[in-house]
């Protein structure tokens, strides 16, 4: 019997008031205090939204992350922020991490104070989203390590793992590693194997659920390899992946089911999402199915994102209660 849960995926959009505050802050028209207050108000509203929608793991929505890499670059030795690069097939850009020396977690003191927010409740489950080592090693400009794979392993053991351990100590129990690169650029088999080794090193003795979430591409071509990874869950972008193409796989892993389009302003028909999620559970029969959007909701305005979160909550509840 598949358990059904739901959560947010990645970066959540800022509200229109917070957009104005951050703009004003950049232009020197408002101060640090107003900025902090703006983020805090958005955070509280987002937590309320997740709770009222019945989501199972809560997220801070990465509201103050500029992109998936920038805060991590700021916490590390050996990395600096480089030029703007387009983030996959979106109209969103990131500062390319430049690897200029030995990569190492440096500023662990502000890991949880600046970039990962959670309240003190021990009963709530929290998740965090981080870049997968394979993704990071491919989007970074490597000016130091022998090759991308050497960077991937160094990033995993010296930065990603200590950072994650710190998060787990703080009570975050679900780690989602975003991995769009693997499904949008055909990988070499030997690189996939090295990625698998990096993930093994990452998850060893880590007291949290770990998911590799693929998005912006069809997961099927890489699925037979991913199912061998030492992780708890695999995430699939079902806007890009044909469910029927996965039915031959023995899906014993938990499934993160990206079934709501985070890049469309149209709010999906609840019946269509429900029917698809139901069919997915029937066909793949994973132990847990986490309903979510195919990627972070940062690609739609906050009001639309809010409606998509509520939709996820409603569909999850119907699946749990049998319709």
């Amino acid at each position: 019997m598949t358990q059904v849960k739901a959560f947010l995926n990645g970066i959540y959009p800022r509200s229109e008031p917070l957009v104005s505050i951050t703009r004003d802050y950049d232009r020197g028209r408002t101060g640090e205090q107003e900025l902090k207050q703006g983020f805090q108000q958005d955070l509280e509203a987002l937590i309320d939204l997740q709770v009222s929608s019945g989501l199972d793991y809560l997220s801070d929505g990465m509201l103050n992350w500029q992109d998936l890499y920038h805060p991590i670059v700021g916490m590390a030795e050996g990395l600096k922020a480089g030029p703007l690069e387009r983030s996959f097939n979106t109209n969103t850009f990131y500062r390319q991490p430049i690897v200029a020396g030995n990569v190492r977690l440096q500023r662990s003191d502000d890991v949880d104070s600046e970039f990962f927010h959670r309240d003190g409740s021990q009963e709530t489950l929290w998740k965090a989203v981080l870049p997968s080592p394979y993704l990071f090693s491919r989007v970074a400009a490597n000016e130091f390590y022998h090759d991308e794979n050497e960077l991937m392993m160094a990033f995993t053991t010296e930065l990603l793992k200590p950072l994650t351990q710190r998060l787990v100590e703080r009570g975050i129990s679900f780690i989602q590693l975003n991995e769009p690169y693997l499904v949008s650029h055909k990988p070499r088999l030997q690189d996939v194997k090295l990625f698998q080794e990096a993930i093994e090193a990452f998850t060893k003795d880590l007291n949290a659920r770990v998911c590799i979430h693929t998005h912006f591409g069809d997961a099927e071509p890489i699925m037979e390899h991913l199912l061998d990874f030492e992780v708890d869950a695999i995430g699939i972008d079902f806007l890009e992946t044909d469910l029927d193409s996965l039915t031959g796989y023995d899906f014993e892993m938990e499934l993160v089911c990206g079934c709501v389009n985070s890049r469309s302003s149209l709010i999906e028909d609840e019946e269509v999402v429900y029917a698809f999620a139901h069919r997915t559970i029937e066909q793949l029969n994973p132990p847990i199915c986490y309903l979510t959007t195919n990627t972070g909701l940062e690609f739609v305005p906050e009001e639309i994102a809010r409606n998509k979160v509520r939709l996820l909550g409603r569909v999850a509840e119907r699946l749990r209660t049998g319709g």
Partner: protein
Amino acid sequence: MDALQTHEIGSLSKLSWRVKAIQGRTLGAEDLTSAKNWGERLGIAYQGLIDLLQRAQQEKLSEADRAEVMRWSSRYAIKMLEQTGLDVIYDGEQQRSEMYHYPVSHSQGFEFRGTVRSFDNKYYRKAACVAEPKLSRPYHLDEFRFARDHAEKPLKVPITGAYTLADWSYDEYYSKGSFQIGSEFGRAQRNQARRRFVLDVARNLIRPNIETLVEAGAEWIQIDEPAVTTHPEEVPLFVEAFEASTQGIDCQFSAHICFSDYTRLFPDILSMENCSEFALEFANRDSTALGVNPQVRTGYEILTRFKEHRVDKRIGVGVVDVHSDFIEPPDLIRDRILYAVEVLGDPARVNPTPDCGLRTRTWDVAYEKLSNLVAGAEMAARSMS
């Protein structure tokens, strides 16, 4: 064909008096001082503007007055760009709000849905297509006529292209009802809807705009398509939309693409017969060390692909970064130009440009960057002669 023809890409930031007067915000003494200082610096008889701004301090400006403020802004930008020494200019897009917002808000069939982030704390308002896009009236014609009547140098009109307008919009019209999730069929539905959307924007919005500009005397139109490589599999659709927008129209056309993986453009762009120049961003990804070799000019590596594919178009080579206040010295710009000439093998195929529009820089920074661009181009020309 002129060698090393310098031109800008499009936008400049708007001076504070232009922003506040249009938004109906209170103008301070510093805003009027800025209008006077730039007016004097550019040799503009600015008293008419000052009178207008002083009136704006006392009362709400009428629609006609606000249009006049925008024309003043165009006048300033034209003179500023001419004074930097560029060979080809426009008006810094001073009469537009922004490259996406302006065309969409002057077209039928779109509704704004809210704000989304582009990067850092930079955002744009994103619209949804809710009906077949239609042109209310040509939305660049008045600004072009004004620029034509006030500029002394040749003009190049920047216009946002069909692919980018569609890509940066949500589609609630063509893909309505195609909600299939997790299926090939759903993907095919979305792709078909996408093609109809892009081509309707090309035929119904971009082409009629271009036709009226050409009738009014435009000789060079730059189609801005920063979204082109967003979906690499759709580069053929961009090419199709470019052709649908321009085919059979007697005008020089160029395409501006930036912050993209240019390798994804090949081989499809080789068939773009109506395009005479690809203006691309390079400086953002280059080192600032001097030198004319591939080890130093890392940002210009992609030029070799244009050489390998024997692309016979001119390349607008971005030699100043638009996202940094660093003022590139002329000798760095010279070396970037010389390297581009060396790779492409012909100075007539190199047009030095900024990476993109300079709207995120102050006028002081933009002026210095563009003046140095011209100085660098002159140095490069001298060293080749």
